[in-house]
Symmetry: D2
Subunit: 353 residues, 4 copies
């Protein structure tokens, strides 16, 4: 029912690459990868025999948990991990059980899974930001010297060049790439705290276990868990909305340029109308505006989720699950649509003076 | 990827009845129903021979449009209707074509489809509001005379009865039912305007056609289209958020009552923890808070969509598609969860004085 | 610092009539009016001698409480009423004290004060909605037969008349007036509950006291308090945002029509530019868009405030204080600006066909 | 009418230092400082005689523009700068006029003024973040070894130390200081573009003029204007909401700890009730929650303002004026309240084990 997965509306809103990264199959694989890495950690730090740890990890990596059971467990517990752990144990010798999940808490698994997904999806976005900036370079190369009316407060102001307008779209994208580098450094962190977030479930081995787990997963190991400190995820959300906001500005500009009477741009492709065959609607430009407003709307919720009470809040945490994955998809789709739209520009502005 | 359709998170967030009403299969059926009714209308008002109109309607009602083609068409046109009309025509004799879609515009079909869905889903919600109010009556019957501490600003104030607290949850629900009656009267309206919303595509037969179409579909016929007047849908969104807000208040109260130290309520069932087997988490109470904050967040976007430029806005309209169906699902799920939660109350408050 | 009260930005954002109604002087007068009415009620129901009640009421009505003391008290208590009551008592004979505030709680006073303000300010808005609808009638009378291009998805669609476009602005306004009638009936209710909302502070005289107080204040007496049931205020907020949203749509349309190249409207007055003396910016049309987005944004917060825990929440309640008065001002200003803008229309659309 | 400036509610919401920085008097001084610096720049780059430039700058710096005239001008033009320039010229010899404002545009002045204000106010916040972190160190020093129940999903989980809980409040604050350093580096940039943002109003002297102006004002000189690229301000808004969100989490925790039955904290001071003299309400803790939700709400609007069409949008820009200054005040007040609240902690948690 979500537009992103809708059978026909998905034609507009779906982004295949983002969906594959964020989809449940990849999610489950990452959860299993985390649980398997943890089994190995329990071996590394000597809580279980390395042989048993390795054996448990292999079973976990190959597991294909019963989705219906997970769903029922999630309905009961509010999250899938307790059932997942039971299913994993049920699929292995009892001798291996001490090497499974012991010392982790559900939030460690679920947050770390999200971080691993964000690693991939922000790489995708960075690549697309670079592609889009390049596609805008092409527009400048082809039409940049052309003149067009600069418009302020929706009124004709003074003439500018096409290159000026394109630069105003392009500069923020480069800035978003710089921001992303900093953001990734801050957010791609292991979540590990154990039951109440104090990393002491394993006595004094907590920090060693955290370091080992981070190493297995290729993540940074922050000096503490962040169960209730959701600022990093709120910043990811802000960044996503900054990106879609910049694209929305570009989409709005293109929609305005495409108006009959202004005729400042010509776009190949574009939508037809069931009632007016002569129309060619700037679908993708409009879509960028829609996605910008969608993300701006969701962002508020991600910041309400900062009021995350005590050691861990069920209510605030689940709100993130409802919002952030959709913001990711909206942003990825926006970038894909902007690249397509840009490459469809057949003319922009007038002749050079 | 949406929590509502997610393979395991769906165990918490999915509502089967709402999903069936709002799902794409039912959506397509309603779109076909509208197109078929319109064919009949074209017969009724003498634009085509009634025989041809009836024949076209039968073909349309039985159609099973190729979803992949619809998806491609939607990707191109921004909406499915132009392709749907082509597919419908391709499935019938050319002689019937004048009886298909002629005089409608895509927005007429898509908005009317939504209205038909809202008709069903608000009936469902009304039924659940009544059930929930009844379940709360049971709580009062069993525990209402018991005493509990009234709390203001999260501090003990003066004693109240359990019945007082339950009434504070129940009264708004009854009010929401009254509001819904008024709202349904206002919103369950045919959308019909034709290309630019002036109902004059059929010359002076526009109003007659509208009346006939409304009659076929069991909807009210407003005196004009509402292509760009989205206040009705914004009010639906407000109502959904009022409902989930009231449930969120109840969920928050129950979460607070369930705290060790307060121990003012005992709930059967409830979530287990992967790290702490002794815990019993008030999953459904938390869920109500989450859903309330989700809907409050989305509502802003539905009101931004009121800035719907000119005769029809692509950007503002598509924003509604992204938000309203999710608000419907969140509200339906909240009502279902609240009924279950209420019926799980094993004790509330202390002994009667 | 708020734009509404800002020394120079107020030129754009300030609405004098709304500011007078909502301002602190009028607020204090209404609080005193409520406290005085309550003293009389205590006489009416025989809790104090009518003579003492009347004397206390007279003192209260004439009081001019020390604002600095109120501010300090508010800093300490989170609200002004405890200090206000102390100040009132300090200004009268001790013999009158039993006739002061006894049985009320702060929220009774503060919410009822708000309701009295909303009574006045929604009357103002209703009057302005009627004026605006009338001003639009004038536009239709002068230019309605003219032709203009209907535009959908920001693209030329088919020709419409100026009257068609104006009607699309006007119809929602009439609908808002109908909604307001219903809303006023629902919201203009006395708040009275006493300490924990149970109306039993006066034993079995609670309902009689409520009826008498409502009578003194010219408000409806609901069958119970609504300390924690904030749906009515959330609906007021929704209505305000519906109104400003409709005005935002009109403002957006006018901004688009005023573009050079489209030139579909001519507005007298309008802004000059510090850098470009030739420009004439459609200030008021833009303002309507700004105010619509402002209110849509605030509305989310008013719905988050529905999660109002237990018998009374300090945190959720104070959030309303931060949001609703600003929404009132934004809406009032929007209506004023829309009336001015409409009456400044010098030409709209082209010649009649 | 805004709670921040309200005569008695200001006792809760007003922050004197932030109000002084953001207030209209300081704002006007900064605008004059910018105009004066620009006059000097026009001398520096040889557009006017340095003698005239210096003379104009002196007049401008000493000017006390007629606020009523500014207000009328703002009402007409949507912003104060055109009138300000006229008033400044009226106060000097005509010979100096070429040294006034020539080549600047209103947005250059208004955005740069905001940046100068943000410079000061973020310094204030940084200082307070450090103070608050220090005050939390004191709490840890006094009570850190004490035990308290760790709570997850609002249920008792396992015991933690008071220090664990305090650290969860403190760590994000330190992170916000690091973020602020990066943010200031990005945002404290001169705005300079001229009429259509191309810096070419002064021919090829645009960049030199920008460099000189930045130098005069102690700001960085970005390589281009950012009239329509509002990502920096949106990031400021995000940062403000991150800070208030962290404080909101702390406030929520303290409100929960202060519940009778949990009794995990004792706070000196605190609010009294008009109806219940025995109560002591945790006013400041609640306030932190309110302010967090306020800022989370506003943030959405700041991101909607990213859809800033063409070379400059009146509508999106004015939305920032309505939102950002209030977010600044809410955040500053939150920091002040959190420091006071922390220093009022008389006991936290139980005895050490």
């Amino acid at each position: 029912m979500s537009v992103f997965q809708h059978p026909w509306l998905g034609g507009v809103f779906h982004d295949a690459e983002a969906a594959e990264i964020m989809g449940p199959q990849a999610q489950m694989k990452r959860m299993l990868r985390i649980e398997a890495a943890w089994s190995r950690v329990l071996g590394d730090i000597g809580r279980v025999e390395p042989r048993l740890a390795a054996a448990a990890a292999l079973v976990i990596e190959a597991a294909e948990p019963d989705i219906e059971a997970l769903r029922e467990g999630t309905a009961r517990d509010g999250l899938a991990v307790p059932t997942l752990v039971k299913l994993l144990k049920a699929g292995m010798d009892e001798e291996l059980w001490p090497a499974v999940h012991k010392g982790l808490t559900s939030q460690d698994v679920i947050d770390t899974e999200l971080v691993l997904a964000l690693d991939l999806v922000t790489q995708l976005m960075d690549k697309r930001l670079a592609l889009l900036a390049g596609a805008l370079d092409d527009v400048t190369a082809r039409f940049g010297a052309g003149r067009m009316m600069g418009r302020t407060r929706m009124q004709a102001a003074v003439e500018i060049t096409v290159a000026d307008r394109v630069l105003a779209w392009q500069r923020p994208l480069l800035r978003h790439r710089e921001r992303l580098t900093a953001l990734r450094g801050e957010v791609l962190n292991l979540q590990f705290g154990g039951a109440a977030g104090t990393r002491d479930v394993l006595g004094d081995q907590g920090d060693a276990a955290a370091a080992a787990l981070a190493d297995h997963l290729g993540l940074a190991n922050p000096h503490a868990q962040w169960h209730s400190a959701r600022g990093g995820l709120a910043e990811v959300a802000s960044w996503l909305s900054l990106v879609s906001g910049s694209l929305g500005k570009m989409g709005q500009d293109i929609s305005l340029m495409a108006q009959q009477g202004l005729d400042e741009i010509e776009i190949a492709g574009g939508g037809s109308s069931s009632a007016m065959p002569h129309k060619q609607n700037p679908i993708l430009a409009e879509l960028l505006v829609t996605l910008a407003r969608f993300n701006a709307t969701q962002l508020a919720g991600m910041h309400h989720a900062l009021v995350h009470e005590q050691e861990r809040s069920g209510a605030a945490w689940a709100l993130e699950w409802m919002l952030l994955p959709q913001m990711v998809q909206a942003t990825a789709r926006g970038l894909g649509a902007a690249i397509e739209l840009t490459s469809n520009i057949r003319r922009m502005g007038g002749p050079a003076s």
